[in-house]
Structure formats: C-alpha cells, structure tokens
Amino acid sequence: MSRQENSDRLGVLKTYKLYIDGKFPRTESGRYFKLKAADGKILANVCQGSRKDVRDAVTAARTAFAKWSRQTAYLRGQILYRVAEMLEGRRLQFTEELVEQGVTRDKAIAEVSESIDTLVYYAGWSDKYPQIFSAVNPVASSHFNFSMPEPTGVVCVLAPELPSLLGLVRAIAPVIIGGNTAVVLVSSKQPLSGITFGEVLHTSDLPSGVVNLVSGFRDELIKTMASHMDVNAILLCAEKDRVGDSVVVQEQAIENLKRVSVWKDIEANPYRIMEFQEIKTTWHPVGA
C-alpha cells in the first residue's frame, strides 16, 4: 500500500529548545514563553533561557575554545562553507519559518539567501584576514618583528532582534571564523529562526560548543553575559529602543576588561573579524 497523506493526521510539532555544547537541552529553569503569530495563533512555546543556561553555555564555549582556536584557518573556512551548504539545503524551511513569524515572503527569501551568502563570504576570509592584518614591523636591531591576530576567546553575542536570521549569521560568522567560540542570545521577537539555525550548525562538522544558542530575554541575561569573568568579549547588536544596553554592557565588562563591540548595523566586512582578535607580536633573531 502506498503511503498517503491522511487529512486526519496529527501534525508533529517541533519543540524549540536551546543549543548548548552540541546538544539541544530544554532550559534548566523550565520556563517558557509563548510566541504568537500576527493573527494571535500560538506558534511555539519558546525556552526562556536563564542565567544558569548562560553559565553552562560559557563552560561549553570555554572547553571548545582550546581546540577550535588551534584549528587551521583552512579547516575553519571549510566548516563555515559547510554551514552555508546545509542552510542552502534547508532554504524552504527557513523561509517558511520567517513567514510564519511575520516576514513577507519576498523578504524572507532574500533574507535566507543573504544569510547563506554571508557564510560563504566569511568562509572565504578565514585564511585571508590574518595575511591582511598581520605586519612585519621595522625594528632597530637584528630581529624579525611581526604582529599577527589571534582569537580573543569566548565571545557573548546579543544578536539583533530583526532581521532575526540574517542578523544572527552576520553576528556569529566573523566571531567564529576568527577562532573564537560564541554564546549567543538569539532574537526574542523571532526566536524560531535562531533556534532552528542550531540544527544547521549541528550538521556542519562544527565542533560541539563552538556556537551555543540561548533563547530568552535581554533584560534578564545581559548583565550575566557582560559580567561573566570567563567571557573575553561581548558583541552588542544595539536596538534603537534599548539605549541602556550599551551602558550596562560597558559597566559590567570593566571588571575583566572584556572587549566590547557595539554594532548599530549588521554590515559584513573583514574589520568585524578583527574586533574579536588580539594582536600578538613576536621577535625573532636574524643573523648579521
């Protein structure tokens, strides 16, 4: 008997969970918020991530950093390109999800395309930005003196509310291509795309813990992210109606001198990789 779609069939709804350390756990707090479509229909129960979820995610990111930061630029580029491939294959799913969350179809299609292109763009930069931003420095002694970028460590990302998918990709791609690991608070207005993006990352040979995705609210988590002593940098994608965010981030980041990046747009360019890099300078003796 051939399989037929039965109109009485009960649909299988996806549970939207967090993405931490290569797993999809529920929030440890057990809290959820309802995400509603424009017509008031409930789209999903979304995890309301807690401080402890952030803590667990930072632990995972710290562990993953040791290996990820030492991978070759070539491999990191390959893996990011693989993420693009996986997203391409799920184009329809992401488009539908954006439409469900209130984006017009045309805009949704364009947003998914741009997201894929962004991944390819940064994948290409992986072995080029170190060449462009490194330098051989003139010194008055018999030394080669050169400076080169190195990843800063664990980066907390407060992803933009909109566009939820493109904004997320634009924020995390430059962070991880530079060898950092990321703990990301996804959009709370359209959290589904960010959480589903975890499935793409999970099937792309990206090692566990390199990107960790938490859904929830900025008000609750921004201070935890900005004050965490084991976080080395924080990227705040600024929202026009939340002018206080950058103050909180900068105040809390002082204690361990986190790098702070505040983005007012989501442009893609190689300087954005450099915002999460340290410069190491090495002296090497030369003869005569």
């Binding site: 935890t224 004050s227 965490h228 204690e255």
Partner: protein
Amino acid sequence: MPRYQFREGVWPTMSLQKIDYSQFRRSPTIDLVGVEERVAKFNSRSIKKESKMFALKLAMSLCDLTTLDAKDTPGKVKQLCAKAMRPHEDLPEVPHVAAVCVYPNMVKIAKKALEGSKINVAAVATGFPSGMTSLKFRLDETRWAVSEGADEIDMVISRGKFLAGEWQTVFDEIVAVKEACGKAHLKVIFETGELSSLDQVRFISDLAMDAGADFIKTSTGKVQPAATLPVTLVMLEAIRDFYYRTGKKIGMKPAGGIATAKIAIQYLVMLKETLGEDWMNPHLYRFGASALANDLLRQIVKEKTGRYQSFDYFSKD
C-alpha cells in the same frame, strides 16, 4: 562457602582481631538499585545562599590538597602548601585545608613549608598506587614516611590478593601497616574502581575497619572510575554499622574525580544524611582532591560578587 547474612545483633562477639576472614564473609549484600535511588535523592537537594556558602567553606576545610605526580618538584609542593594555608589571597575568611597529601619523598619539604600551621601532612605509602611489592618494602616505606614527619599514611590494599580471595592476607597486611604507622593515622585505600561490585566494597570496608583503619578511602585517583556517590554511600553505611557495633568512629575519604563544588556538596549532603554532623569535620571526613579547591574558591567568589568566575584568575596548581 557459607555466607554470613547481616541481622541486627548477631555480629560475632569474639575479639575483632581474631575474626577468621578465610572462613566466611560477614558483610551484608548491597541492593544496587536501592543505593542508586538513595543517591539520586541526595542529588535533588537544593542548597542555596547561606547554606551553600557554609558548605563551600566546610568542603575547603575537609580537603586533602593532593599532588601525586612523578614530576612533582619541591617548588610545586611548597606552592601547594602555601595554597593549603591560605587558599585565596583576597579571602581570609576561607578556612585552610585539612592536609596536604604527597609522595613520601616530599614529606619533609611539605612538613617544613607547613610549619606553624595546623595542617597535617599525609603521605601515600606501601608502593602507591599499585602496592605490587613485598610487604617488607611496604612496611619500610611506611616507617620511613612516618620518620620523615608524616602525620597520616594513605596505604593501598593488595587488590589482586583481595580479588583472589586471600582476605586474611589483606587483613594481616593492614594490621601490619597500622603497626608500622605508630602514631600516624592510617587511611586505607581500596581502589574501588578495581573491585567490580558494591558487595566487594562493603566487604573490604568491614574488613579494613576491623583491621584497624582510622579512615577508609575510595581510590588512588590513578584508576577510573575513582570515587563515586554510590560507592561512598556503601562505605558510609559500613562506617555507621561499625560504629553501632563497636562505638568507634571511622573516617571517610572519597578521592579522585571530585573536581567541582557541586559534586562536593552532593557528597556533604550524603554525609550529613547518613552519618550526621558528628562526621562533618576534618577528623572524620576528607576529600582527596587537587582541582576541587579552585572550583570551591571560584564558587565562593561568585557567591560574594554575583559574577560567574573564570579559572584565569585562580592559581594554577
């Protein structure tokens, strides 16, 4: 071979030293499922705020700060001793640890570094970690460690002999080492990861306490699995039964694999609910650990500042 089944009030009344272990095993069997369920209950306790702070500080005071590497140097041992006396520079309220645990050839250095403090020096002896050498050497090593100044001796049992059923030999060896210890306290390490079942753990616990152990200890830290909550629960219950039987309080030392404050607190909950507060002090309970101290400090600082902490800001041991 007849097997002794535990019933209240039927323990042998003969002199403990004369129990003939070759004839029968007197220990009760262990209900594995029951133990696991009990352990799961301990792990569900929520310890917050003041209670957490109390537990963290208590755990620190119960630590046997340990370094047992072939690469240990005098400098490393001195650094560890400094940390033992004052775990964190900015936190004078954090208590010092109970003891520093080292190899016998480091005892003198540790003893000197700890001069004036109340911290004991524990030495692992008897061919640690395997114990695979003649009894004579093991006894000589024990006497030497004590003569170097060790306050406590951590011995290993002969697991091979125990598993082969030579229980009397194991018993006699513990008696002999205890005698060689003189005034030093004796901790007996079972290496429970090599003993295959909780029945065996219970049996060796009873045997070692009868033989004169002051402390019973799970593991060397060199074998996986090391200390686990189920194994420790079985040993705690053996200690409790021994206390009911003889009126003597024997100490407990889980060691190996207890690296986080969270796990340490679970152990303390289990201790409190099995043996009670009498045992919650360094005379009767220790953690054998190296990484634990830093995680305890990290949590204490977190409780004080509200900021999650990084290992970047704690000494590397």
